[in-house]
């Protein structure tokens, strides 16, 4: 399974839409796209995960380093439209407590 990454920009908000699986194979590609975005001061990066059916811990690692980077560069990271299975992973790892995750619109499995 592959991952497609689509980046759109609207003033201070950059939206990164993902579709597919975020795992050990696709995570490096996501990191390459996401990390530089977190370094543009003043930006809010919204990651839309509606079309992400599976994420493993390597994927989580990418979001953790993105979060750390936002703190260093005065940017913000927001995860939106997460599916149930992916949300469970963020919940177990305690990341829902420290990340801005919009869990009002969660697609089913």
């Amino acid at each position: 399974m592959n991952l497609t990454i689509d980046v759109t920009n609207k003033e201070k908000i950059t939206t990164v839409s993902l579709a597919g699986e975020v795992d050990a194979f696709t995570a490096p590609k996501l990191k390459e796209t996401l990390l530089p975005l977190t370094k543009e001061s003043g930006q809010t990066i919204e990651v839309d995960l509606q079309e992400v059916s599976y994420m493993d811990s390597t994927g989580l690692g990418v979001f953790i380093s993105a979060l750390k980077s936002t703190k260093e560069h005065d940017t913000a990271l927001k995860l939106i439209q997460m599916q149930e299975r992916v949300y469970r992973l963020f919940k177990i790892t305690g990341l829902t407590e420290i990340m801005d995750i919009d869990n009002t619109v969660r697609g089913g499995m």
Binding site: K31, S57, T58, I64, K68, G94
Partner: protein, 336 residues
């Protein structure tokens, strides 16, 4: 160059023999010549050179355009020969790396070895199988003087060699904690600070730490973002998730860890695992939590070590003997 000269004579004779008689024997000899050349690291273009020279000896009045075409072939083979040499040296390098990694994997086994404790009244089973050479999962038992058993189960994110190195760091930090401070929450808090300071930003560790008090049969535990464990109530034949809130190790230095306590009754079990167990896949389908618990129950009547081994074998078979992730399962069963 003298051997090559000899070979030139040899090649010329063989070629002549073949041209005149079409003899299979000459073809066989040619094959030997080719093998011998490889052993001597003779490049493909050198063989062509030998071929051209032999031809010139045998047919001095070879037409000019044939001669040119052979020069052309010679040039072509030079880059091919270079690429082949590079391939050879990469292959050697790869073999070297492979043996270095297997040395590292063995060293990891020695460094991280933990002895399964023998404790009166408690039946302990543990299994940890890496998907690749190096294991990113880890478990550790510590017995203290008061009769308490500490159990740590952890999963490092980022597999392979970096994960393994990170595990050694965790193990040695844990060994250095004073024994009178075995509180799960405190231990995870200290480890979190060690990991946060020492690993790459995309790396983190999940860990479940439990302390089984053999005197009053209570199990105190904390979790750093680890897969929840389970408590099996044998009387009611019921599994209950055991989890405590806490952030994965290595993300924020201020993280604190909730500590929960569970009373353990005779015949009941505590089950700790990593996501290699819960994220098993059969083809494209994920195994549901209930299926995992069902299989554990199926083997629960056996001694704990046999239970974990049977459960592992079941999922190994289900995934066609190809683990996608490291698999670790620990069971503590109260006997009396």
């Amino acid at each position: 160059m003298s051997t090559l000269k000899l070979d030139l004579e040899n090649y010329k004779e063989l070629m002549q023999q073949y041209i005149e008689t079409q003899d299979e024997q000459a073809l066989y000899q040619a094959e030997q010549f080719s093998k011998h050349s490889m052993q001597q690291n003779i490049s493909p273009e050198e063989i062509i050179n030998v071929h051209v020279q032999s031809l010139q000896h045998l047919y001095p009045d070879m037409p000019e355009h044939i001669r040119s075409s052979l020069d052309f072939l010679l040039e072509t083979m030079i880059s091919y020969g270079l690429a082949y040499q590079e391939y050879q040296s990469l292959r050697e390098r790869q073999l070297e790396l492979k043996s270095e990694i297997s040395v590292a994997a063995n060293m990891q086994k020695t460094l991280l070895a933990t002895e399964k404790p023998e404790i009166e009244g408690l039946d302990v089973g543990a299994i940890s199988i890496p998907a690749k050479q190096m294991n990113g999962d880890y478990y550790h038992f510590v017995k203290d003087d008061s009769g308490a058993l500490g159990v740590a189960i952890a999963d490092v994110v980022g597999k392979g060699v970096p994960a393994a190195l990170c595990m050694s760091m965790i193990k040695y930090s844990m060994d250095s904690f004073p024994e009178n401070r075995m509180d799960p929450g405190v231990i995870l808090g200290s480890l979190n600070r060690v990991v946060e300071r020492n690993v790459d930003s995309s790396m983190f560790i999940t860990m479940f730490y439990g302390l089984y008090n053999i005197n009053n049969h209570t199990f105190r535990f904390s979790s750093a973002g680890h897969e929840p464990g389970y408590y099996y109530d044998s009387k009611q034949d019921y599994f209950e998730e055991i989890d405590a809130s806490g952030l994965v190790l290595g993300v924020s230095p201020e993280a604190t860890y909730e500590q929960c306590t569970k009373e353990v009754h005779v015949g009941d079990m505590i089950i700790m695992l990593t996501d290699g167990v819960t994220e098993c896949r059969q083809g494209d389908r994920f195994i549901e939590e209930d299926e995992v618990l069902e299989i554990i129950k199926q083997y629960a009547h056996l001694p704990a070590q046999e239970t974990v081994e049977h459960v592992y074998k079941h999922f190994e078979r289900l995934q066609d003997f190809q683990l996608r992730d490291d698999f670790t399962l620990i069971i503590l069963k109260r006997k009396v």
